[in-house]
Amino acid sequence: MNDGTAGSTPMPVIATKSRRPFSAWTAYSAAVSLILIFAVVTPVLICLWGSFTTLSTMGAASTLSGAGWETQKSLGIYASGARETTGPFTLLWYAYVFEVYGHTIGLSFKLAATSILVTIVLGVFGGYGLVRYDFPGKALLEEIISIPLSLPGISIAVALLGTYGIIRDSWTIILFGHLLYTLPFMLQSVTSTLRSYNFFELERAAASLGANWFQRLRYILLPNLRHAIIIGSLLVFTISLGEFNASFLLTTPINLTLPASLYDTYTNDSFQVSSAATSVFMLVVIPVLMAIQFMGGKEMKEVGQAA
């Protein structure tokens, strides 16, 4: 002990891993964690169950009523009919969802992929310009780019419809909505990397060695931004795929995004069908996220911090 007296025992040189006995605090925090996890996971589990079940449960829509009913009847799909043919569980709800809303998966992916590509181009070049050069109004510009994040999606949608009404029928108007929400994240990812280490010194070194702007872009800028671009892409993908607020107003029955189609099922179809649609959404998103995470490796830890 360090009590200053002669003959005091020296502090151990190497810290040993202390083994704490099982305490009341550990039990308490474990219990709270489990309850919270359960509270969050339960709806997902119910959703998964609902997507397979043939029981007529959860409200009037599961019986013969509602706008989707006509389609269901024409396809010969309804709860009691299914119960007769396949028993307590069925894949009919999934079949219906894929039949009617399958194309929305394609559109949502197209939007997410395009968002990633556009934000990479805008983010890399725009981010470079913002960090490298000083010009009047620079701070203001950075603020303006982030403003859409604090505005309600519906008002953004109305603004877009007013400005670009002429392309109302095209999927590109939805893309604009997505870009407004995703660009700030990619931009922030790129600029924080450029600011955090002496990247511009590397660029000067490359120039002194004879590299022109394109060679500097290819060999120095992009490779060193790989990390930031992957994080940014993860964020852009997640946001774009799940974006509902603005997309809802910008979509049309022909150009329907996956989240907007979920809303359709919630209002028009039975609980079983909506559960199936929701499950499809989760099944679509999670593997892609995991694939990108696998690709990005250690980048993933920082997504949690950035998001």
Binding site: R204, A205, S208
Partner: protein
Amino acid sequence: MSYEIRIKNLRKVYPDGTVALAGVDLVCPRSKTTSLVGPSGSGKSTILKIVAGLLDASSGQVLFEGRDVTYLPPEKRNIGMVFQSYALFPNMTVRENVEFGMLVRRVSAAERRRRAEEALETAQIAPLANRRIHQLSGGQQQRVALARAVVFQPDILLLDEPLSALDAKIRVELRNELARLLRQFGITAVYVTHDQQEAMSLGDQVVVLDKGEIMQIGAPYEIYSRPANDFVARFVGSANLFEAHIDVSGHADGVVVRTRFGEVVLERRVVDARWPDLAHGGVNLMCRPEDVRLADGDEVHARMRVVERIFLGDRIRVIGETEPGDRIVIEIDNAATVADGEVISIVFDMEKLHFLPRQ
């Protein structure tokens, strides 16, 4: 191919009014190393960056072998540059870093490989070829930076305080190697440093700068033993400066130099040979500590009272006061016995005395 650099009336003024360079004229001879030395803010790095093309001058010209490159971007100047922070590319291995200059000049892969291998051998880092730069020590990184900057045979090599970020021992080691390599390559080099020892050991020509102006240009020995003014005298080493008065007609055989602590007579022919411009009137007398020794005979030039003694290993530095009270620093043999408070007699090495204009 090694080029001569000519700088004409280079000025750099920043928007807030700071004058970094106040009209500098300089010639860096072909195949020789020019050291730019001075305290922080003297403008030495500014000159280097303008020569490299990384900074624009406010006015003036930079010429490489007669060709005006003032407005040419750095990638078109065919220079090699070594930075204080090394600036090695973290996304590439050591070999790829060294090959970079050739890669952007579209040299074939096989040729690149061969020449990079040679450069790595010369810089004594061949075994590190496949390492990533974060796996290298400071000294190793600096060798990579140097190999990278010379492998594609640039016309000019620019070094911006390359050794400042290293610890003392490695610095000295690398300094000696650098000197050897610069001579071996025979390339025109401009070396910026704030360390006068580095400047004088590496430079064939030394340029001393202060506050954006050149104080003196010359060979290392000249700068050291015949500084042009007080600033240079003090910057490149310790200097004792005393007010003195020159009396050219006071003595038949020579020139009388009168100081507060005594008088010496210098032979007229010596004065004519070494200081032809020495005129009657007030000057500063400069004497370096190592050019003073303890009087051992009849001749005594001055007396001093010992205030402090510092043992330096090969010498003893004695700090003291002359009788009139001027501070004086001398360095004497390490076996001498001298006590604090003692009044000792000293003799100046007349060959090494120097006169500076009084400012």
